[in-house]
Amino acid sequence: MAYVGILIGFALLFLWDYKEIKEVNDKRGNIVYGIFFLAAIAYAILFKSGVVTISMTQIVSLIVAYLRGIRLPYYFR
């Protein structure tokens, strides 16, 4: 059910953007848009299913902690 909701939501978003896309009529723009859009759908589905629990913050935290050689506190896990 939730997945259907996500898909409907994205369909709405796409409809919303459709007019703009048609108006601009930019091939390169459409490719970039498509990448972002698909990424968003994938992220949303993975988010919902609980497979992905990683965010940009955590990635950055891990990298910086590794480079600085500090251990992240427990509440980051």
Partner: protein, 376 residues
Amino acid sequence: MKQRLLLGLLLIIFFTGCYDRRELDDLAIVVGLGVDLADDGDILATVEIVNPQVLGNKSAGGGGEPVWVIESKGQTLFEAIRRMIHQSPNKLFFSHNQIIVIGEELANKDIFLVTDFLLRVEEPREDAYLIVAEGKAGDIIRAKIGIGSVPALAIEKMISSNWATSQAPMSQLIAFAKQTVAKAPGVVLGRIALRSEKEAEISFNGAAVLKRNKLVDWLTETEARGYLWIKDQVKGGTVVVKDTKYGGNISYEIAREKTVCRPKILQNGQMSIEIDIAVTSRFAGLTDSREIENPTAWSEYVLDLEEGVKREVRSVIDKAQTLQLDFLDFGALIKQYYPQIWQKKESNWDKEFPMLPVAIKVKAQINSVGMVKRSR
């Protein structure tokens, strides 16, 4: 098209929203909280809930009690409060809680058990009054004051109009938290007591001295005033001085006051505290023997007043030094002005404080004789 989509999206949000909605008639508005230590070591919480129906419909009148008191027990304060759900049809709502009364036994044990919860949870407010009860806090909460009024609100008014006598600190939760966090060795809270069981007569004066989280002693009214002098919090009240020459008592009403406390290094290198009090007052009651126009007599009046204030301040300093507890926070003063010296003294402060010399200077002024010069 776009607009319709927007509308649809908004409607989806709206229909899934309203999570935080709580209806007024589903709320039990808590105005007073008393916390005691039960016999078995659990926490006993007593709350006072207003009954808006009685209070609101003044014309209908008569029907029912204005407040409803329930109590509950738990291992922690939070558990005790959550268990009240079993007794109250409505959810307890703490945002309008005005007073937090701590029972004597609990204060003897650990007051942090109460304050941590109150500061951590978002509903209770930090400007509620935190006071210590002589005896059981539940009795205070349960006591009836006046006719048809809300006792907790009455107590709140009592505390906030206490400036007229300035005989007890108006201690708010936030002030307590500030002092605790700043590692003050002692904290002073207001004292409330049930004077007589039957009439439900309540008095709010004097103060409780806590060694961080434990009650160690009480301050009398005079000592409490002395504390307020030092803290520059005297807003009013009367100073009564014995008229040694002619007998009887003279009372002065305090109009304005300004206290400045400064640490000083004495000539022998010893640290001391200097308290400068400037007080403006007017006559409120005189023994008639002396002539008010007489300049020498006038200076005696002023001296008497200065002595009276000095005595009050001295009393609380003596108390602190005998208790060996720096609840006057002189340590913080030294830290503020002489941080280097304080670093050396800090570890040994408990020992040094009782020997700390304190100089009290009072500069009094009488700026009004009142409506008459002489009454007899």
